[in-house]
Amino acid sequence: MTKTAPVLDIDAILDDENTRIIVCCGSGGVGKTTTAAALGLRAAERGRSVVVLTVDPAKRLAQAMGLTELDNVPRRVKGVGSQGELHAMMLDMKRTFDEIIEAHADPERARQILTNPFYQSLSSSFSGTQEYMAMEKLGQLRRSGDWDLIIVDTPPSRSALDFLDAPERLGRFLDGRLIRILMAPAKAGGRSAFKLLNAGFGIVAGALTKVLGAQVLKDIQMFVSALDAVFGGFRQRAEQTYKLLQAPGTAFVVVATPERDAIREASYFVERLAEERMPLAGLVINRLHRSPAPALSAARSTAAAEDLESRGEHELASAVLRLHAGRMQLAAREQREQEHFMSAHPTVPIAHVPAMAEDVHDLDGLREIGDLLAS
């Protein structure tokens, strides 16, 4: 028997004024960004004032929304019908980080931090920085109160869960024990204070100097002491964002394709959200293959094609039947993958979006996906 899942009622979520944040997450290549953009457009056209924060959109999708520059500022999307408003922005993680520094430090200290080589490389290349800054930006947008719905698409990371873990990890580092070791010389007024500390600290400092070299260590020390003076409590900030994600106005939408890896990641994610007490709205299964002739099974179609072939008749019909059989097999396989998820998570609502031949190129394409999501 075919399993069924509760239906994910997209419009109910979009129309609910209490929904203030929607987070689209899932593994790479499943269509998170497109889903986020389609939800944003639909919400706007249903009367809400929406901003979509995307991290790394494909060029075409960015163009579809009229985003031409990566300038870290929400831009109004033109061509959105009716009462609502849609803004979209691409995250520039380095600029977001720079802005935090500039906002919290006096000009001299800000300059010290911004020109520090360790800072420059941390702010532009550490993969966790992207997650951290995405969450930071989310917090900023929420505090600004300019939009009544924020839709964010999570960064493409090693694992779909990284954006939950990375801020905590960065926070742990910036507030942690290692930082205190690194900062010790600066606090002691510049002379080497390693000697003043206990032996464990001394060994660590020695090892770091040996491996990294003295100059690098000095860069890191300068960076962390300047940063600490600017604003302590990176971890505290991470915790605030974390609480925001747990709030009742937040809805997580997990996106997957009907393939084993993507479904597996989606399952992990659903379990993890439950552990963290973060509100899950449901699962979107993207690029599902269906047939307009579902009553004709793969087995019957193959048998009929074989029959025609053996008689040497109706080549066209047998080729079409083979094509159909392939389609039905694919649909059956996708159904099995979905059922694995449904068996493990029978209460999670699901919405389906059929596979489309071409990628989204414009607002009409996004609108169509929105319609499919809500149908």
Partner: protein, 334 residues
Amino acid sequence: MSARDTDWDGVRLHVVTGKGGTGKTTVAAALALALAAGGRKVLLVEVEGRQGIAQVFDLPPLPYEERKIAVAPGGGDVYALAIDPEEAMLEYLEMFYGLKRMGKVLTRMGVVDFATTIAPGLRDVLVTGKTSEAVRRRDRSGRRVYDAIVMDAPPTGRITRFLNVTQEVAGLARVGPVKNHADLVRGVVASPETAVHFVSLLEEMPVQETLDGVAELHGAELPVGGIFINMVRPTGLPKDVLDSALKKRFDHAELALGLKAAGLVGESADASAIAQALAEEVTEHAHRTRLEKRERASLAKAGTPRYELPLLADGTDLAGLYELAEAIRAQGAA
């Protein structure tokens, strides 16, 4: 050594990248099997801690240890290693600094955590470094331990940065041991003994990312390998049928007759309804085939060898992996 000529003779490190969802890990695994075929010894490494190799081969999670996981057609062994950056770091400290006993202290102090998750680029240097070590490793008689190494690498969007380790650690180390080590790794990765292969699908976004990735690698002077076009569906229908479907002149009546002849439908009305539905499928298929043709042509612009791997109807199981390995060998990629 086999006498067969392949497109990548002389390459010892095969780096496999691809956009999420393209089947990168599966292709890396099949390539390892194909390279091992005929009695060679190949190491398949994983660098992102996702245990993708274990899943593809249907095995329990792999430890940080080289172990045999499969036998290739005609003899030959595939070993696997899941590189854990923390373990690699402790090994590195021991190897180069004799700091093994420091490991615990460093771990407790958060230094290992710092090095493997925060410090820009260090994590990548550690995993590419471990891989390079396996590439260079020789046994007592001076022979290479592995004939080839296949790396299931990070996705296309991050591959250049990942391999361009010297650049990556620049902020952290312009001189000193980390820099020296990064330079050594870069030497292996940028050598003619390395090829960076891309896995793509015949869809717009993966193709665009592949082309961007190829251009980026060229820019960074890293060796571009081949393009593996994965999950290719058979065209199935003759060209004139596809053309007529695109022009909305598909012959429903003929199809309906065929359906009746096959005994699938009794009544003419049923036959026509089913023929209508199937015709819709044909039109969709024709559109997709046209798009695929366009994407194929785009990939050709990359100017590097391309290989096509079939969509496996039953999903990727072990038998499917061997099927893909065979396709890889048949096309001369291994």
